[in-house]
Symmetry: C2
Subunit: 242 residues, 2 copies
């Protein structure tokens, strides 16, 4: 298997760092080739802006999607975007590792989607969803959160993970990935923020790394999440019952 990990956490010694390192070792040990993009370390700019485009389709008015399409067609995509697309093309499995910040991915990862999923290249009006560019490949979100498991669910304080991850999952589905069920690490607390004592926190987080490792070695048997596709919509995109 060829795996690409996109890592979005500012501190290498963080628990997110441990999850990525665990994945890297576990998958390599199992014979996979693993590539990694550490968005913070590579100083990735998540802001889609005109200065990324040297050869503009329209120099007066910046329309992001039009410039993406133009750059794709002219082979003038920014270097870091082209190389990330190459990483994704090579991979059978893509893992996104990040902490849940404000009910979604950190800005640096949100902008990775804004910039890497290039209009006119990675998707067109026809090549989307089950006919998407990356069809046949799988994607897996691994997310950490500070609050404990019990605080999540519909109507609960932390919110429902199905809803919170829907935007990122559906975006992965949009570009053709089969999206595997997420791996969620609960109660990942910094110093002084713990809901429990340090020993119990340490033991629990260590066990969680074993679960992550075990999850990664059983991916073959893991069915992807169900999202609607072209057969589920009418011409205008409305959901229809078949």
């Amino acid at each position: 298997m060829q795996v690409h990990i996109v890592h979005a956490h500012p501190e290498p010694s963080s628990y997110n760092g441990a999850l990525t390192e665990t994945a890297r070792r576990a998958l390599s040990d199992d014979g996979s080739t693993v590539t990694m993009t550490d968005l913070y370390r590579s100083d990735f700019d998540p802001v889609e802006r005109e200065t990324h485009y040297q050869h503009r389709s329209d120099a007066d008015r910046f329309a992001a999607l039009a410039e993406q399409r133009h750059a794709w067609n002219n082979g003038s995509l920014p270097g870091e975007i082209q190389s990330e697309i190459d990483n994704l093309k090579q991979a059978n499995l893509v893992i996104l590792q990040f902490p849940l910040w404000w009910h979604g991915p950190p800005a640096i990862l949100k902008g990775w989607m804004d910039r890497v999923f290039v209009s006119g290249g990675i998707y067109t009006s026809r090549a989307r969803y089950d006919t998407g560019y990356f069809r046949g490949k799988r994607a897996l979100v691994s997310v950490t959160t500070g609050a404990p498991h019990q605080a999540f669910g519909p109507g609960s304080r932390g919110g429902d993970f199905d809803t919170m991850l829907w935007p990122i999952h559906y975006s992965l589905h949009y570009v053709g990935f089969s999206v595997l069920p997420p791996f969620i690490s609960y109660g990942v607390q910094g110093h002084g923020y713990s809901y429990e004592d340090e020993d119990s926190l340490h033991t629990r987080l260590k066990l969680n790394l074993f679960e992550w490792r075990s999850r990664l070695s059983s991916l073959e048997t893991s069915a992807p999440l169900r999202f609607p596709g072209w057969d589920d919509w009418d011409e205008g995109g409305k959901a229809v019952r078949r």
Copy 2:
């Protein structure tokens, strides 16, 4: 009324620009004072990272929430963050204007939340949700999307706006805002992407600006969205029936 608009679009002459300009004029004409942060023009850095903190709580290991808390307590928040907090404190109404990119806000606005909603200051474990810092103030999301109205809804191609906007709405609720129903501008197409002819597009988008203006002048009668609060949860944060 004191209104603060956070504008997140790279092109001033865009339809998002027209929506913000319409809001600015309509609200000023009605006697409100309007402030605005144009995230692109002010070159806002949406990435929460260690270089934003000059006086670190821990110089060896970067824990974002701990540094936010430390900077808040020591009055050493980055200037652009402090001034944005001041804008929010002054306002009775906050409007977030952005295009829907990958089923959520552009990275520059996601990171505005990552950085401006400061841990230990704008929220603490007790001051959240209906006891949140900005309670008594209202927030309103105004979002544009390229696809037509009919493509949205549960199971439909574009997805369901209640789900897509849940993360940003719930984040606003988390820091205490009463969240008004969103204003959604559908079918906002760039050149060459239109689902309809240019004349009809132009007329429709012009009408939509009138609707936006009329929506803004009737905010007093608009009931906020319902989100759960402390009375709806047990000690652990689980939803309970009362």
